[in-house]
Symmetry: C2
């Protein structure tokens, strides 16, 4: 048997050797790579015992900040750009046939309660929050543009003050500004809501402290979360970003891709407002979601 | 201002750019390196969303396993060889003059209660635990071998069943098998104890699950922890390992260095036993600790 007596120069190699007997080859690959990069980081910066201690404390506090409605490790992953990278690797912007697909972005930490099923056209703003009325229309299509009936469109968003229901459950009630829709026969969906505001990520924990210590801000540009799935197609987790929102170019979770920014067009038309069942004036935005075929793993 | 719109190929660069305004240059260096290696890891293995989720869950559970007497993140760092690497980087095996120093090893997760101050010669085995009596003698010297009077020698160890006081506080009482000694005029120290046993690290948490999933064992070879400090000298955190102990070549925290293994010699001599105040037969071990001069940071 290989000896695992420690040696500074060969440290990553020695620790990787301890994972040589991992039954699952993929887990072995992941652990070996993780150890290699982790040791390279520690050596590159010559991490001191004091810095290591600060790191242990930071990770511990991050774990202890988590509960049913707060996921501080996802926030950490988001603010280090890791969530965005994982989503991007899993979701190509073009299909195998070269067709343009809807790009993915982070799920974020607020998808912690299930969105209530709603009829097409329903108003997400159940609590009657103040805000600019908004009509969202769209369609789910496959890579070649064929509409997908029966697709699930899960949406969630902040209110005009920048808060999600789970952040103020007493004022809003859980499920407010969330909805799970099913596309109709021609693949389309629509719903009513209010225009979301840009907002800070929860910054009262270790991640917020990290942002302040590194001179970063804690803001995300205004967006609506959209997660679409349909049998035989690849699920996409994405956002529609509000064009002109502050922080579009410096999203603290690196979630913005050019292709996901949309004009939320102002409409001033009493008849159209009445037809949609919203107050006049209002905003409209269209968001077509193109999904790739599911590849067999 | 630089745009931070996400791009998969340049992801590490983009996230690193967000840390460009970090006021403390050292923190900026650490965060930049961390992000670079973290993104390289994610790309190397093409981490999937499911694996990322498992990682988030693992880190969250690791944080939530921690309390006053359990530090699961230190266990994780230990079992990935990171703690050992940090200690080794901070503590060279040779002084700037080329003299041989006592090598460092991990502090481990059991130094969670302060060791009670004890007189030289005191018995660490306050609770009268069963085990082979053992006399530990030694000396603290500087790099050129000059004895260091008044050095603090902090020791802690498991009992003959492999448990620390904090793991069974009702049976042992906190402070049992721990002691803080001060070297006398000729730099020497001594105390009585029992021979420690090899033991498993706490394996009922996420780290234990990781070890089982990767086919690793959870054992550490028998050892006594020793942490020595003195004014003007560099503190060293180390162990004396018991020669012949199982797992010396496969310590699950990679803590073993050849130079730290000592024979715990069996002595069968009634007169000597009586002189030390221990039952006959007993074991003896000598551990000389050589500390480097403190370098001005």
């Amino acid at each position: 048997m290989t000896t695992l007596l420690f040696d500074e120069d060969r440290s990553a190699e020695i620790v990787a050797a301890s994972f040589a007997g991992t039954p699952d080859p993929r887990l072995r690959e992941v652990m070996t790579s993780l150890v290699t990069h982790l040791h390279a980081f520690v050596k590159d910066v010559r991490l001191t015992p004091g810095e290591w201690e600060a790191g242990i404390r930071f990770l511990t506090e991050t774990g202890q900040m988590c509960d049913e409605t707060r996921q501080e490790f996802i926030l950490l992953s988001d603010t280090l750009g890791v969530s965005m990278l994982v989503e991007s690797l899993a979701n190509s912007a073009v299909s195998t046939q070269g067709d343009r697909l809807t790009e993915a972005t982070v799920e974020g930490p607020f998808h912690v309660v299930a969105s209530p099923s709603r009829e097409l056209g329903a108003d997400l703003n159940v609590a009657g929050e103040p805000g600019e009325p908004c009509v969202v229309t769209g369609r789910v299509v496959d890579a070649s543009g064929v509409p997908v009936p029966g697709a699930k469109v899960d949406v969630w968003q902040a209110n005009a003050a920048g808060f999600y229901d789970v952040q103020q459950p007493d004022e809003m009630g859980l499920g407010d500004l969330r909805g799970l829709f099913t596309t109709d026969a021609d693949g389309s969906y629509w719903f009513r809501t209010i225009v979301p505001a840009h907002y800070p990520i929860p910054a009262d924990g270790p991640v917020g402290r990290m942002l302040r210590q590194t001179g970063r801000h804690e803001w995300r540009p205004a967006h609506i979360h959209v997660e679409v799935s349909a049998p035989g197609l690849r699920r996409v987790t994405t956002h529609v970003f509000v064009a002109g929102s502050p922080y579009l170019e410096s999203d603290t979770v690196f979630g913005v891709k050019e292709s996901l920014i949309r004009d939320f067009v102002e409409v001033d038309d009493e008849a159209e407002a009445a037809a949609y069942g919203v107050a006049n004036p209002f905003r409209t935005v269209e968001f077509v979601v193109a999904l790739d075929a599911e590849t067999t793993p």
